[in-house]
Assembly symmetry: none
Homo-oligomer: 260 residues x 2
Amino acid sequence: MSLHHCRVVLVQPTIAGNIGATARVMRNMGLTNLVLVSPQASLDDRQTRQLATHGEEILDRARVVDRLSDAVADCALVLGTSARRGGLLRRQSVVAPAEIMPRLVAELRAGQSAALVFGTEAHGLTDEEVTRCHFLITIPADDSYPVLNLAQAVAICLYELRKGWEVWEADDPGQPSCERRPVAAFADQDRMFAQLEQALRAIHFLYGPKAESLMHALRHLLGRAGLTPMEVDVLSGLARQIRWYADHNKQLQALSENQP
Amino acid sequence: MSLHHCRVVLVQPTIAGNIGATARVMRNMGLTNLVLVSPQASLDDRQTRQLATHGEEILDRARVVDRLSDAVADCALVLGTSARRGGLLRRQSVVAPAEIMPRLVAELRAGQSAALVFGTEAHGLTDEEVTRCHFLITIPADDSYPVLNLAQAVAICLYELRKGWEVWEADDPGQPSCERRPVAAFADQDRMFAQLEQALRAIHFLYGPKAESLMHALRHLLGRAGLTPMEVDVLSGLARQIRWYADHNKQLQALSENQP
């Protein structure tokens, strides 16, 4: 039940100063948990350390992992960030920082882990990485050049998180949190989505060039709901049942074609 | 009557990268007017230019003056920034960024000029400089280390200004309102849920006494997501496809049973 349960994930950061400045603003805002996914700049670079002012301990305790899914496996809520506004399907679940923070604070308050995910400097999160996120945060900016510096984007998101956190603390001074709907772990959700995707491909709901964006839309709308472990089981069961029908259909089809 | 009438004033900036990153985030947020008071780092430094990405024009047009009073002489509203919380007199007019932005927007809207003033990296604004400011903005941060990096503090203040600006534009009927995710009409959602239920009964995912509560769970989790019209169409399509498989399966089954 603290801001420490919100981790900051930088995917392939390439500029040392951005890692350092991220550590500093995490310290400013009361966060401690930094994860780097395949970093292209070092935690021990002189620039990293120089810009971390008072955030050195956060750098010392930072985790380095190979893939985004390793960084967020146990998270109930994964928020990506993106300046890109293109892509019809992607646009649906784009939220402003201030809009989503109450939800993030509620998860943290319920003892859940959550992650704020920032893409690489040059081109942000890939479509594949975006698909892994429950929501996509876009910082309101000028259309003529909406791409923020990485460390400044981190600062704005953590500032909004801190604001949301302080609103909650002011409303509820030190009270234990009320009962909350538990959210399934990211890894369990991910496994279910993989089963669902296979099933929907088997019945040719997903096929051709649009398959990816359709699956993306389904992931997003289900992710937005904040699935409980039981709901993840229900959807797994649904995927199995659809799959069974598709397989059975194939067998019957083969059988009927072999008949004279 | 535009964001251009809000200038950003950096007092004795000493780190070139901070000047560059300030220009970039000004460009991001739609501001153009940068003033440096006795800068200790150069507008033409390699680091300044490197971090300004797309904000070069702002650097080219930046003014350099000797004293803060020269920078803000024609301003109707001067907002200083400070992480320091001490000082009796100073404390009186300390505000959070979100608190003061409606006021700043109102001044700009009325055609007035205004300034956001940021002190030097090492120790912020002097008492003398603070006295020149109408209000002093403090960004909420952790007591253990509330001093933000200069360029990140600029980013947060300009982000709040932009938000305040967009709220005003949205409220003003003469302006196009900001983009929002539309939610599908209840009746359309209901029609889709009926199709989905039929399809799931057809593949025997729903059957027996538990069918009703399972369908209820699905409705509930999808409803929670706040489905868009497009998502309702996607789910309708999915229901049709599942239904097709179930019907086709039945036909094939009947066919195979009729075979000797």
